[in-house]
Structure formats: C-alpha cells, structure tokens
Symmetry: C2
Subunit: 251 residues, 2 copies
C-alpha cells in the first residue's frame, strides 16, 4: 500500500503533499479520484484548517467562495426559517465534500458539532483542478447522486414516517454507517445532542427523548451514555424504520 519508498524524489519535492498522502479521509472522499503521483497538485490547493465545536464555517446565503472536505469530526448542515425553526438536512463526517451548490451563494449553514479538521479549496482553484482531472468531476457527480438519493429517503421520512419510525430510521442508518468503520458494530456513537437529532428528524427534543426511552424499555436498545446507543435488536429496528406493517400493529 505504502509506495513512499518507491517514489522518494516526487514526494520529497513538496512537503505539503504529506497532508494529502497521510490523510485518513482520502480513501472515502472524492480525493481518491486523484492518483498518488498527482497528489501534490491536490495538496497545493487544499488548505487544511481546524474548526472548533460550535463554529460556523459555511453560512446560508453568503457568497460561495470556498469548498470544503472534512477530514475528521462531524458538522451539521441546516436551513433556518426567520422565526428560528431549524431543519438539519444532514450530518457531514470524514470524507464529506461540502459546498456543491452551483449557485453563487451557499444554500445551507454548516457548523461543527465536534472539533472538525477540513481542507478548504477556493472555487477557481478547484475549478482548474476539475478541468485537469476529469475523474474528480466524475467522483463529484457520483457523490452528488448519492446525496440526492439520501435526500429523497429523508423526504420520505419527514413527509410520511411516524416519530417511532423516524427515530428507528436514524438509529438504523447510524448503525449501518458505523459498521463499515471497523468499530464494534452494536455500539453507535451519537456526536449530536437530542436537539440536533430532533431538528434532523423534524421532531421535538421531547419526542426524541421519549421515543429512545421507549425503545430502551422495550429492550431493543440501551443507552450506556448520552452520546452512545447500543443496538440490541438491529433487525427489529430496521423493520420499524422501513415501516413494516407488522410493527405498526403492535404498540
């Protein structure tokens, strides 16, 4: 895997390249469209930056001058109504590319919910990179399509699912996402607060809390700490999440 030994001269020519080569997020991000030997081109335009918890780094309505790629940590993406009602449209973790809007203003706000490390790309520099690496553009299109599919799934959740089904969907999707990361499969991290879960699921904090308590008392999950859930019965949870008729009958 490590080809450093094979190409010492190229790597050495730019110390900045290191942060891309060593980047833990590369494998799961659009950056993997660029081969290791061209990585210095990428590294030259990617500006690493640390965002502290609670800090907003993209603001809805502001000029979209930069794109971002998250290396570590999690951010919430949301839209707001003038009276303060908030809808979180997604949580962006390691490898997530942000700012895809074509329009010249951002369509959502992004705020770190834990310390986030990311790479910043200026619009024109990314544009130049896209022209030189068509594969990168293909990967971006893929990413956008995947997000579109996820967005449609979320519309189904917000428009038609019950509170129980929403919370079950949330836990189930967190569960399946986590499995891939090599962690213990049944423990799911919840880096977000109950309020953030509520704003993501179109519910109130109280309903989220009550529903979790309910699942716990039904023996389907346990809540070892406030930011962790143990999924005891993943199959049951998935059934509820997908609105299986049988589960709706027994309350």
């Amino acid at each position: 895997m490590n080809t450093l030994g094979a190409r010492p001269v190229v790597v050495a020519k730019s110390a900045a390249t290191a942060h891309c080569i060593e980047c833990g997020a590369r494998g799961r991000s659009v950056c993997n469209a660029i081969s290791e030997r061209d990585l210095d081109r990428l590294a030259a335009v990617a500006v690493p930056k640390r965002i502290e918890k609670g800090q907003v780094f993209i603001e809805e309505g502001e000029a979209a001058v930069d794109f971002f790629n998250i290396t570590t940590g999690t951010a919430k993406l949301y839209k707001m109504l003038p009276d303060g009602r908030q809808q979180i449209t997604g949580f962006a973790g390691s490898g997530h590319f942000l700012g895809l809007a074509v329009s010249d203003t951002y369509a959502f706000t992004a705020e770190a919910i834990e310390t986030v490390d990311l790479c910043r790309f200026s619009r024109p520099k990314l544009r130049a990179l896209l022209d030189d690496f068509p594969l990168l553009e293909k990967r971006l299109l893929e990413t956008a399509c995947n997000e579109l599919v996820a967005a449609q799934e979320q519309m189904l959740l917000l428009g038609r699912k019950t509170a129980r089904e929403r919370v079950a969907s949330f836990l189930a999707s967190r569960h399946t996402e986590t499995v891939g990361c090599g962690k213990r499969s049944e423990r799911v991290a919840l880096p977000m607060t109950r309020a953030e879960i509520a704003d993501y699921l179109g519910l109130t904090i109280e309903t989220v809390s009550r529903t979790l308590t309910r699942f716990k008392s039904e023996g389907k999950i346990s809540l070892p700490s406030r930011d962790e859930v143990e999924i005891i019965d993943p199959h049951w949870l998935l059934g509820v999440a997908t609105g299986e008729d049988s589960h709706a009958a027994f309350v």
Copy 2:
C-alpha cells in the same frame, strides 16, 4: 440561431437528428451542453418514447438500465412505504433529466401524471457520450447540485413548515417556475391532483383542499378550475411560504 443553412450536408446525413434539433426541451435540458453540430451524436443514442398518463416508466428498486430526459408533460417521482404511504419527492417537467442514481437500482418510481414525451438513453451509451463530451458531464453535475438544493429546501418544508406554509410554498414555487415559461404570470397550472399535492407536501388531501379554500376566502388566490390557480397576491404568498413571522401572527 438556425445554422441549418450553413451545414446542410451534416444535418442531412441523419434524419434522426431532426428530433434533437427541433426539440423544444433542448434549451432547458442538459442536452444544451452539446453544440448543434454534434447533435447527431446525441440524436443517435436518444430514443424518443411516449408515456401515457398513469404509466410507470421507472420503478423503485429495479435495475437502473436507462436514463430519461423529459421533452413534454409532467411525471411524479415518489417513494413508498410497504403499507402504501407515499412521498412524492418531486415533479419532473420538460427538460428534466431522470435516473441520476449511481447505484444500479432506481431509488424512486416515476409515473406520468399527464402524457409525457421523453428520450431514453441506455446506461452504456450515455456513459460513452459523457466521455466524449465533458461539458455534458459538467451540466449533469450542475443539474444534480440544483436538485440537491431543491431537496434541502423540501426537507425544510417537510420537517418544519406548517400546512399553510407548505401550500403557500408550493403555489409560490409553481408561480415563479411558470413565469419563466412566458405564460400569463398569475395563472398557474396544476397538472397534479390534490392527492398528489398532498403526497408531495406531506399532508392529507383534506388539509390541502381546506388550505386552498382558506387562501381563496382570504382573497389571496382564486380557483378558476380544478387544475388552475390564479395567484392574486404573490407577495403575500411568498411571505407565508418563507415563514415570515408577521404572517404567523394574524390568522
């Protein structure tokens, strides 16, 4: 604009080219990424097809073998839960490109709500076209981004807006979309039934009907026929749609 006279030989070499050159949807679709002189390449892989009202031409979960581009008419795109609950994720009109999912199965169902004319592209042929016309890929990415922005807006609507705000948003967006088409601006066509509006807004048919009646009795709209709305007070409607505090106060 018409370059037919300048290049009679090229155009004549394929009679099939005509349907792309004359296509009314070209201007607003991704096809405008391909210049008129290369249009025969596009025409060679685009298979025109007519879909009658009520006919399903993309089915959720089935192998994604084709892509479609709507020429005329409107289709509804939806996802369903096993017990029949339905969420319409969007209405696709002239120029809309469908089937963008990278995955090998469709993520939603598409059904014509009025007679639809479309062009069908097989996956491999479109892929080849994309490799030859990078601009087409750029346009697809743009399209996907725009849809993503619309999806986020819809999540805000479904997760956080009241029934009144949802119906107002729906009418307002229909209104602004219609303006561009050169029709009389205040008359908005509703090719979909109340049930379809309800499934799009995450409401019931009764709530949609009552809300429209309410707007009418408040003098903000009129309902000349069941598939048409006249927007009497667009500014007021937009205010309600965007959740302006003031409008929430006076009921």
